[in-house]
């Protein structure tokens, strides 16, 4: 395995980690505010479809992005109404949202495009272009002739869509918001003890809705990236469990932003390796591709089993807030 191959795998790791990272940060906002969100998957899927559909119809990927965010936020608002306003079971609401997205995207796609539940292929301005940073080579032939540093710059750092860079920037931003701002303090407080926030005269409902809607925005970007940057259009069930892997990454990261980045890169790496090699030979043992695919899930179970540290979720997580008498 030569250096450039490794770089290519890492490059693809970054691409594949991006939707995970966005969804994982989405979950982070929601769950830090005490609202479990197993509907990340559905929000990504809805955003993927609407971004692809609008990008195709309008020819503008930016309009597509907005449509994706809007769709995801609509589902987020539904989750908010069910689990915050009506104090329903947050897990059941998440399950419902996943199915709603899985069903509605195909039903609407079939009505609009009559292509068996997919959108037409996107091209040109309907997709996010890869950005070539100044001084970087873009063609593989040119990259191969560069030195190692140049290769890292051209292959790994340069040549991603704008969303990749945005996603990476959201990690420090999230850390800053969470630990350095008033909003962050209140957000963390409402996930730990909503009664403390309520008696301090701050609206629990307002804070939780804000968090859930931020999760909607981030899932929207994740879905749009999936359909308009990583792929060229929407196909049925294209989120393919990424929402759940993101959830897994969130637990792995113990609900902290920088750890979320590492966890998502790790899971993106598994994905990249699994895509490149069908079976991996490690000496005598052949690791089947299915094992690589299942690895993120297995790792989460191991983390949850408490074999590697203990993942303690926000204390008020999953509980609707009811005022005590």
């Amino acid at each position: 395995m030569d250096f450039l191959t490794i770089l290519q795998i890492l490059d693809s790791t970054v691409r594949l980690a991006t939707p995970l990272l966005l969804a994982c940060l989405a979950g982070l906002y929601s769950e830090r505010a005490g609202v479990f969100d197993i509907g990340l998957e559905g929000k990504i899927l809805a955003a993927a479809f609407f971004s692809a559909a609008v990008a195709f119809t309008s020819g503008s990927v930016w309009l597509g992005l907005l449509a994706g965010i809007a769709a995801s936020m609509a589902l987020a608002a539904l989750h908010g109404v069910a689990s915050i306003t009506f104090r329903g079971n947050q897990l059941i609401s998440g399950v419902a949202i996943n199915f709603l997205a899985a069903g509605l995207t195909v039903v609407i796609a079939q009505t609009w495009f009559l292509q068996g539940g997919r959108t037409p292929q996107l091209s040109g301005a309907a997709r996010f272009e890869n950005i070539v940073l100044p001084g970087a080579a873009s063609r593989i032939r040119d990259i191969a002739q560069q030195g190692p540093l140049g290769q890292i710059y051209s292959e790994l750092i340069s040549g991603h869509s704008i969303i990749v860079y945005v996603a990476l920037a959201i990690v420090p931003l999230t850390w800053w918001v969470l630990y350095r701002t008033r909003f962050g303090l209140r957000l963390r407080a409402v996930g730990e003890n909503p009664a403390a926030v309520d008696t301090a005269g701050v609206s629990v409902v307002g804070l939780r809705f804000a968090a859930v809607l931020i999760a909607g925005v981030l899932c929207g970007i994740a879905g749009a990236y999936l359909a308009t940057a990583l792929n060229a259009g929407f196909v049925k069930d294209m989120s393919a469990g990424r929402g759940f892997i993101a959830l897994a990454a969130l637990i792995f990261a113990k609900w902290r932003p920088w750890y979320a980045l590492s966890a998502c890169l790790l899971f993106g790496f598994f994905d990249a390796v699994g895509n490149r090699y069908q079976n991996i030979q490690l000496g005598e043992i052949i690791v089947p591709v299915q094992f690589m695919q299942a690895l993120p899930y297995i790792l989460v179970v191991i983390v949850l089993a408490g074999l590697v540290g203990k993942a303690i979720p926000p204390r008020a997580g999953g509980e609707p807030y009811v005022k005590e008498r």
């Binding site: 069903g103 539940g117 899930y297």
Partner: protein, 372 residues
């Protein structure tokens, strides 16, 4: 005093929720430019209009009874088993292993063996999440979701690398021996007009038996009493000498076993071999069925029948109204889960206000009875 009479809680609210879900579904159909009334007619006719339709409706309902009971039993212990999908898949593996490796003389014996193995494998797949919940407090919702994905990867692996028939490209096992084939509806109820194409088979009766068994278990046995106690309050359970670890484990094993038993209907009764993705979301439908059926076996049967009809009717819909995709059924399923599960309070609160108003009026009319 309770805010509502019991019948309102058990019957009225689920019915209102389902009607709301169907109304919103109709709205979706109308928005995509089709007639909801006609779609409804097509679905009802497709599901109940012929023996053929009934054969499919009841076949799907059989699956949903098993997975619905699985979710319902877990709900009684306040455990949310979202892993029915994976447990059913692994249950199928158990059925395939026992039917392929033993030369069964008669289907009745094979059926007993298949029930045991499907339940055993399904239970085994629920055991690790159950253990982690009981001993480590790891959230069972997350672990069972993870186990669904692990099961799916495992099934692909064994079907591609272990059980695939040599020379065949498709990831499936060989056909089971003829002696193990279950009687189908045309065999035991041909006089009702069931043809050989109807997939309804003997497993349907096993499903009904399972309902009776679950009813006895939950409401008549000491174990069921302990499961319900634990579900209502784990601290009270400890006070009464009920071991939370034991109850969590046993409940999840029963739940996983019931989900696994779904495989006898599909793998043994219908496909007569193990194919990839045979569960087709039935594990998730079980959630909707259990919520709608208020975790009671009778409710589960009724809800399973509704969803069986939706699945069969939805298939017909695709033929008659091609603009409506089959995924419309998934939308309806989502809305049922949403309204009966997550938005329960939205229906409940106005109803409580109505009943409270009624009672106030009654009390105002009658003289006050002396207080407690």
């Amino acid at each position: 005093m309770d805010k509502m009479p019991k019948w309102a809680d058990v019957i009225l609210i689920p019915v209102i929720s389902v009607v709301l879900a169907l109304l919103v579904s109709g709205l979706v159909v109308a928005i995509i430019g089709e007639s909801p009334i006609r779609a409804m007619q097509v679905m009802v006719r497709g599901a109940f209009g012929s023996a053929y339709g009934w054969g499919y409706t009841l076949y799907y309902a059989t699956n949903f009874i098993f997975t619905g009971l699985a979710v319902a039993v877990a709900f009684h212990a306040r455990l949310f088993n979202i892993g029915g999908e994976g447990q059913a898949a692994i249950g199928g593996l158990g059925v395939a292993i026992i039917l392929l490796n033993v030369a069964w003389p008669h289907w009745t014996i094979a059926l007993v063996a298949a029930i045991c193995f499907s339940a055993l494998f399904g239970a085994a797949w629920a055991a690790i999440p159950a253990y982690l919940q009981a001993k480590r407090g790891s959230h069972i919702v997350i672990t069972t979701i993870m186990f669904n994905y692990i099961a799916s990867a495992l099934l692909v692996y064994v079907l591609v690398n272990v059980f695939r028939v040599e020379g065949s490209m498709s990831p499936e096992t060989a056909r089971f021996a003829e002696a193990t084939n279950l009687p189908t509806a045309s065999d035991f109820a041909g006089f009702l007009g069931f043809g050989t194409s109807a997939p309804l088979n003997f497993s349907f009766f096993i499903a009904l038996l399972a309902c009776v068994g679950v009813w006895l278990l939950i409401w008549r046995t000491r174990l069921g009493y302990e499961i319900r106690s634990f579900g209502h309050s784990d601290t009270a359970a400890v006070y009464a000498g009920i071991n939370p670890v034991k109850i969590t484990m046993i409940t999840m094993l029963i739940s996983g076993g019931l989900a696994g038993m779904m495989a006898i209907n599909v793998v043994m009764g219908e496909a007569e071999r193990l194919v990839l993705d045979f569960v087709e979301g039935a594990g998730f439908v079980g959630i909707a069925v259990a919520l709608m059926g208020r975790s009671h076996p009778v409710g589960v049967v009724l809800a399973a029948l509704l969803f069986g009809a939706l699945y069969q009717g939805g298939a017909e819909l695709q033929f008659e109204m091609p603009a409506i995709s089959r995924e419309m059924v998934v939308v309806i399923q989502a809305l049922v889960i949403l309204f009966t599960g997550a938005l329960d309070n939205m229906v409940r609160m106005p109803m409580q206000a109505v009943f409270l108003g009624l009672r106030r009026r009654r009390e105002a009319a009658a003289p006050r009875t002396p207080a407690e």
